[in-house]
Symmetry: C2
Subunit: 359 residues, 2 copies
Amino acid sequence: MNQDQPGAVGVAPVTLDDVATHAGVSRQTVSNVLNAPHRVREGTRERVEAAIARLGYQPNRAARALRAQASRMIGYRIEPVHEESLASIHDRFLHALADAGREADHHLLLFTADDPAGELAACARLFRTGGVDGFVLYGIDHGDARPAALLKVGAPFAVFGRTDSDSGHCWADVDNVAGVADAVDHLIERGHRRVGFVGWPEGSGVGDRRAEGWRAALEEHGLLADCQRLDAQTHDTIAAGAAAGAKLLDLSDPPTAIVTVTDTLAVGVMRAAQGRGRVIGEDLAVVGFDDTPTARVLGLSSVRQPIEEVGRVIVEMLLARLPGVPHQPQTAAGPEGRLLRPSLVARGSSAAPYPSSST
Amino acid sequence: MNQDQPGAVGVAPVTLDDVATHAGVSRQTVSNVLNAPHRVREGTRERVEAAIARLGYQPNRAARALRAQASRMIGYRIEPVHEESLASIHDRFLHALADAGREADHHLLLFTADDPAGELAACARLFRTGGVDGFVLYGIDHGDARPAALLKVGAPFAVFGRTDSDSGHCWADVDNVAGVADAVDHLIERGHRRVGFVGWPEGSGVGDRRAEGWRAALEEHGLLADCQRLDAQTHDTIAAGAAAGAKLLDLSDPPTAIVTVTDTLAVGVMRAAQGRGRVIGEDLAVVGFDDTPTARVLGLSSVRQPIEEVGRVIVEMLLARLPGVPHQPQTAAGPEGRLLRPSLVARGSSAAPYPSSST
DNA sequence: TTGTATGCGTTATCAA
DNA sequence: TTGATAACGCATACAA
């Protein structure tokens, strides 16, 4: 009828031998039916398949892993939850990874570590003990020592993000420049001419690229000169965002719209504006980054990262590089890196058109 | 110097045999040093330990799993991210699980499923193939068919939440009654006499218990009669919360404070109140449930679940029931269930004392 | 096309 | 106290 395991209650596991006995063949033939069906005669194959279905046989993972020297596991470090951060990205990413792995019968192995050093130690250990076939690294940015270290360990891996020198490993990243540029375009389209930016301190690849997106978009519209002084840099908390927002709003010629490097900072900016009696979406437009649940609640426009796609792409790349599973012709095992485009989610905070008379 | 693996670059894995050769003993002796140190002479042991350290030997997980019939893996289904929900609980829970497992050298195996049926099929498969030793189930509530089904499969598991008939498996849950009761107590202490409640439709254990907490606390203070009509029930979206809040606020004798079954609904209530020109924390007190990041942003008081502790306790219980790892005397393998107390996080939304003259 | 033998790395049993 | 042997379940090379 169906191929579910027959309602057996805590039964003894079915092995290859059981199936072989049942089908009246050797266990090697059963193995062939599973791993090289073409090498077996049709009649025999059907008999074996029937036995497999009836007994609900499923190959033992440990045995398979031991024999094949491949665990079909992908290691992933789950980081502690930042209480300050609003991000739900991590959750989405994790789900995407697990989902992508499923299709290739690879599962995610989650582990924790207290710091990057601990993470590397854990990675090395997991890899050397055959616990995982490779890793996915999250939140890679300039100066991250993990890629080089993992390379040294000899473990395959793929990362979300980029270091200053991406070499020898594959990566996927969101096009942060384009993301912020889209936000700026959107605001200019609505009539804004003075668009500010609240970013992170210089030095992080992600932050610098988002700032670059702001600058580039303004330049393209010939507005850079007007907005030259309309940016601020600070660390990623609501309070800091409020301070930065206050600074910009208190200028003699303040921006009519502000883009921020994260939703967290956007919330701070909104707070500062409201504290000055300004109505978000009317007196001041704000666009954040990450499309967090909080942004939805507050009606904050935000740049949404295509995390699900990033996860899919990353797993794809990693699996392509794993020895023993040559899905592809493995000519060059696919591209080294992929840049994915985020999309703007426009909400009330940037809804109202702005009278173009603003200089 | 240190016991890290010597900076070997992608070297061949070290096996028990390598260590044995190196130490001039048989591999069985090496195994004994690791698994039954007392059965080996001190001198030999030291020699073997030195070899282990020098070679950076670490036992192969697959081989160990095959031999011991135990993968040292805990299965966990990661659910799709609810776009509507504000919860970060899931993230915290996951981290807690991974962290708790680490201490016992157990790791989390993540998998996805499209629905409960798919989840059960995946569980059965993972368990029968030796991929995991047991499972942790999240979000169990009345009418959940998974526990019974897993029991039938014969897989050990522990759940977060309770069904109507918890039997045969261990569970941990948050004391929802006490959580909401604490919130109500807090409001009464601040002078409120008319405390409303926005909950879920009847039938869910979690929702009903939270409603019960509201009822019980009011009764204890002799205020139940006054507040009898001050509750509403709806599903868990911001819009629904706003509607429910509007209904309560538009009563001829409206509540001065409202407790909600989730932060999501609380946000809705706040929105309804603000739409009516009421200032949260002054004209109306609101307390939510879950202590989401959004609650922090909005200054919303909220009941915080001790998720980290729940995770720890659940893993502890599960491991205690796993065959082969008898940490405890395994008399009765510990208690069947544990109820953990949440704590109220008071913020601005319930800050101001309310003049006790309100009827 | 099918079956036999062997080994993946570990640990349990038993004999020395 | 130590070592030889076998077995966990599967898959590969090779022989029939």
